[in-house]
Assembly symmetry: C2
């Protein structure tokens, strides 16, 4: 029998091989392809990944592990809330940009696969929303984002920082235009400007009718 730690390291090695194959071929991989890649009997692969989807989930787990570690670290740290918000987004942005710069083509492939298989990715998006909601609750306790429910604030903040959280933005927006300095200005803008009060931007048709 294989010991648990050996099984884990074999699984990790296969996930690593699968990710290399994705980067090289520009396509999502399967257990059949992975068996060839690893020069292992298909039955052995199937014992570790019961379906192709399980293999893909294992790859996703590996892909998102650093972002989850960053979010947990920021949630638990004792920085002031405004600094926490910045670190929550900036550290993940810097990490994604690093991955993007290392291999832009492979990064583009992951974006494409992630879009195609969004049902598998959704849990990670929900997890990020969960952590951000914790930070929003903390900010609201300190008087920020007044007049907004947590889910409203969550949606607005995700939209306002979209350039720094959607990986596709690294492909779509001129690299030079995204920077940690601008992200900091955007976070300060949020903290000083985001609230649920209508302050003149929206049309006043409702008032006219009244």
């Amino acid at each position: 029998m294989t010991s648990p730690s050996t099984a884990n390291s074999e699984r990790a090695r296969l996930v690593h091989l699968a990710m290399q194959a994705i980067a090289r071929t520009g396509e999502n991989t399967t257990r059949a392809l992975l068996a060839k890649e690893a020069r292992m009997p298909r039955a052995r692969i199937d014992a570790i990944f019961a379906t192709d989807d399980d293999l893909f989930d294992a790859i996703l787990e590996q892909w998102y592990a650093p972002a989850i570690a960053i979010m947990e670290e920021v949630i638990d740290c004792d920085l002031p809330i405004r600094r926490k918000f910045y670190e929550f987004f900036a550290r993940r942005f810097v990490r994604e940009r690093e991955r993007f710069r290392k291999d832009p083509a492979a990064f583009a492939v992951y974006c494409e696969i992630g879009t195609d298989k969004f049902e598998n990715v959704r849990g990670y998006v929900d997890l990020a929303d969960h952590y951000l909601s914790e930070l929003i609750a903390q900010a609201q306790e300190e008087g920020h984002f007044s007049g907004l429910g947590i889910n409203q604030a969550l949606s607005l903040i995700n939209q306002i920082v979209a350039c720094y959280i959607l990986p596709q933005m690294l492909l779509m927006v001129d690299q030079e235009k995204l920077s940690e300095g601008k992200l900091a200005t955007i976070i300060d803008t949020l903290f000083d400007g985001l609230s649920g009060d209508a302050r003149g931007a929206a049309p006043v048709a409702g008032l006219r009718i009244a």
Copy 2:
């Protein structure tokens, strides 16, 4: 000889046909394809569009005409500056969303072609930036966005409202999540929160060193 107005209406009819072909085939079109589509001799098409790129530019002109009309209308209107900003983005967003909803597949094709042929599109992006810069200058005269150069404010604002100006966002973001109400909140957030002063989001490493 063809009179100028007949020539113009023929040109417009051909551009219209070319756009229908793009929506139907899911690919950019060429003068060769357009000749078949219009059942016209190729020489006649070539007299109107000297190159395939000229045909594409004529399609782009048609595609962007409503957005340009909206921007010019908003620049010239006498709404308060905060309302102008909202209308500048909201009217174009509503118009794009309408186009997207009418034919999501064709909209996706246009996004893809626009990305592939960004050199042709760049002039329209620059024009939108030019108009937004005018609005920013006006806002700054009234004391908003202090401490930021026009180009800095332009880049930050484009990033903060990215969900409402990048057509790809209609494909990427859940439709229900983008709304005129949220856009109004984002504009109010900008007007009350955007400035060049560092207000605590950025790390203070520099201060520690000092």
